[in-house]
Symmetry: D3
Subunit: 248 residues, 6 copies
């Protein structure tokens, strides 16, 4: 099967890293295609940028001619999933939901570590509307030494583990990494903390594969009924540089 | 003072109607400027279109050079308010919140009448993240004879009142009109039902005027801290026809 | 228009201060009449006194011959608002609700600073029954140096700001002043904290003006249907000193 | 032990009936003293009257010289319990809470039948602030043929059972009688419905006896700390006819 | 009347202690019979053991030939109550619910002290499904010096009071002892803290007596309808040592 | 990998059917071993039987010598999952959670169809403690023509679809089959209703495979820390017929 993993920002490096993380856990018959919107912010760090990236992501998905069995939205706590579910028939798996679902199966309370602080509100709202907030012990954030800024994974893992300790103290027994680009941190943070650590991209790949194998598609009755005829291309501005969005 | 009322869709007629409704309740010293996004859907009827309109609205707001004392987001249940609050210093009043706040002051439980059925999910999510859902007796929708399709206000009012009766039966004692274009229905629906009927545009004008008079501005600590320098113009595509968005 | 601002206690000084705070933000055509109950406690600091003050306030309102376009209940977290809404046709704005509504429009989470500790429970219950509790980051109290005990506003502002800091640490980005007599603290506390600070009396004046301008009145269907004929003067004891309740 | 059962209204007949119902279930060593406020409404049918009766009841309790081991507040869904708990050291049992607690021990979901419709809102708020609302299947009301209007118990029981059927259909398996004067209906309504039917007065007597036997008293730390010295007689008006409130 | 108090574990000493605590508060006409399951764990310290003890307790109850007016389940936060309610017609009082109900009548927020840490999750779930969680300020646990390990009551009381202080700091004004074997701690812990301290066994005895006196039995409509004929002895394995379960 | 699918009842036919359903969706390298408890009820239809089956299932799992990569608990809404998670290191997937998680990814609100009516309470409690209840539109039950009673799948599918229609009318857009033995109904019910229909066994297989592929195991910090040494075989009675539990 073919899974589209859509980064929420336009960073090529991040898109490639997400694609690699997804492929690393994909089943033998699964092809991962990592993509990014043709426009929008190169990092998404708050409500404003998240709304822009949601539209840019939907713009990308609107232009798809099909060819994918499921779509993974690889932005933690970002907007857009309900729109993608309305637009598409194939399953749409948000890494926020996927990570939390895995966490709920492995522990009793989960906590989320993210960056920057501006993302906390979005993540809380995303968990609330997803109906997955009741067993959340907290969402914490810090200014982390980002991998794309030269900090080695060890330094970043130590910082994430430090933030996560507050969540464990508050009752969490599973840690969710609240960022699409944290896949490499699963092992080192888990080693430091001694609890399961969940990466949403990896979790989403297995969930998407499962839904495809079950032959399930998105409900088209009610909230996710498709846009009215002629509305799925609603006056987008002419976009330059469209083609460079797809990686791999 | 000057209030910007931003329609969520690109319909000039709807924008003008919203502007007129806002001006009708505005105080003596208040100037209403009604505007619409430069791109995006001409009606917003579901999650997909709402996300597009949120970005288009934020695009419009990003291009503003200031000059307004507050901004009213005139799309009922639509996305974008948190992004606008992050972007702007002046108060941002969402008509969804404004209508519900007025309703909460006038009755014990409110119900929302909207159209079409695809809008119910968005409205429910909007009330949930706004923290205004507890006293909601329900959100109902029907395929209404739309004013912009030639149906007279009397026919539309009768249809809305019919839907609202179910909400009254469920315990509501105030009705919220869940559409920015329903301002003309307040009087006829209230006359039919004998309960307060709230239009969000009108309620938002008085709330925005009040916040401005109090000298209040949006909190810039935490969730609504402004986007990082250079991020408030995040790679938008070149947009044609930009200038035609502002009406009046 | 004429707005009645009803203090919850019998203190003449407090009533005058509340009246002045209300007039300071009132629109050009608005006349504020500040009043106080004819009997009841001179400060309200807990459930017991609040129930007494609620009845005394309703006694005062029952004796009104009309002449007001809206009524503001100027006791933060105090009982009585549902009774006043049942009794009166004109809008009734509780400063608790008004302050929180303003806060919800300006930030993502609000916190309340009050005094004394005995008021916390009432405020929490008031927010719960108002359906405005979801985005509350906390209600804190301390034994503040009270203005009516000779403490200057600067000292009081510093104490309130100190309590508020705990709320900001807990995620609040707007502070609500949980006392009707704190109007003078808005500016100094906001200056210290760098976040919006809301006074309920001021917020209520603008909300009441707005509802009057919209032509709205309290729903008389359901919970707020008026008391049965003959029940709106239910065997009150003869009260001495009635006339001294109205100030200004 | 001696239990004070305080009716919320001034009806002597109702007070005597409540006293008789309480005595009927009281243990061998328990003396029931039924009382009524010296002033206030003779029936309580909504928020307004309930706030008056709360103050009148607290007035009555303030005048007590002690002599009771516990106090039962015999008004279903009425205001005042938190004030009585603040005022008194002995346990205060509200029949609303007592009835629901019994119901929660006997079934999985309870429903409340009350009269008139104006009482629904108060009861819902009372359950919410009591923290006993989660397993409530609904509160329903009808214009019942009242016992004090000459309707025989059979007619009233049939009407109550009719309303209760809607609650059973909604999932309730226990019925709570939402009125202090319904004690005689327990048996006939239970016989008609085949489910447990709970009278709050009776339930409260056994709860109060239990708390007294356990030697427990009301917490005086936090919310129920007593009113400040000199505040427990806060400027009440001179009341005529005070002495006629105590019955039996 | 005769009340069966069923310990959740097989410890004879614990069973006798629970029986003594129950008898100490029982009314003059009440006979307490303390019992224990014929098999299962000798202490219950987590989900796994709790599920075993629930079945063992239901096994014991299935073998009863009647003769009791009510059953008390003396395991704090343990599984099984819904099953016992389905099996039996007489009232079933869980000490978890009983303790919290007493606490809710005596204060505004309660906290639970338990041991060991593994019990927190069960207690939280038990409160949640009981619908009694809203006014819970927290559940805390520590490795306490257990009475059955030789620690004197003074040492244990000091440890429990130390844990409880965190709950008081978090807003609790009543402490619930979250263990069936803590009856002796009520007085010393209350003396140290100055707030009501509740033992579930004692509270349950008075609640059970009350329900019996009211003539109430468990609802047999809906969730607690009895198991189908032939299902109340569902293939239990042959059990050795059955007879030693009943004490006193 | 090897997955143990543990039926909650002792029916060999049901166990074989569940095993076949699981194998049908399992990936190429996955071996399904279907098993049943050695004792306990042959169908589980309410709280009482569910508690027995939980213990019997945990008895079975306690006797395992390892050899499985994950365990699936194939009883919809049944007790036991927290105990299994405490006992085992490998992931434990409850079909209740698995079905709902799939439903949440495919629609906005789900409804559950089950049988018999006695199962509704358990399912509601299971969803509540799982933290997956917010987007549930309802749980409905009927006396279905059971497959094991000779009714053909078409008849059963029609009955299930009839019940499900009420859920769709209440806002559900995905249907969850609330019984482990309904795997064959997915296609016919989906065909009748035009919405996704989810079988928990199938969903659980893909979730379990995913967690194993991710290398995740159950958290052993906090609530699911293993039972104390010597407690994982807590005085079980001698059980006959142990060996017949494993099918295939």
């Amino acid at each position: 099967m073919r899974l589209l993993v859509l980064n929420c920002n336009t960073s090529l490096a991040m898109t490639q890293a997400i694609g690699a993380a997804a492929q690393a856990v994909a089943g033998p018959g699964t092809t991962i295609v990592a993509a990014r919107p043709a426009w929008g912010p190169d990092t998404v760090e708050g409500f404003y940028e998240s709304y822009i990236s949601a539209a840019a992501g939907l713009d990308y998905l609107t232009g798809l001619a099909g060819g994918f069995d499921a779509v993974i939205l690889a932005g933690f706590g970002e907007y857009g999933r309900e729109g993608a579910r309305q637009l598409l028939d194939v399953p749409v798996v948000d890494i926020t939901e996927a990570a939390v679902m895995a966490a709920l199966l492995l522990g009793r309370k989960y906590g989320v570590v993210t960056t920057p602080a501006g993302a906390i509100g979005q993540i809380e709202d995303s968990l609330l509307t997803a109906g997955l907030d009741r067993r959340c012990a907290g969402v914490v954030a810090g200014d982390l030494p980002m991998a794309d800024q030269g900090a080695g994974p060890e330094l970043l893992a130590a910082a994430v583990a430090g933030l996560a300790q507050d969540l464990l103290d508050a009752g969490a027994d599973v840690i969710v990494l609240g960022c699409a680009g944290f896949s490499d941190l699963v092992q080192p943070v888990a080693a430091k903390l001694g609890v399961p650590v969940i990466d949403g991209v990896a979790a989403a790949v297995t969930l998407a594969e499962g839904l495809v194998r079950l032959g399930q598609t998105t409900s088209k009755v009610g909230a996710y009924a498709p846009p009215a005829a002629g509305k799925a291309r609603p006056g987008w501005p002419v976009s330059a540089g469209w083609g460079e969005g797809a990686s791999r």
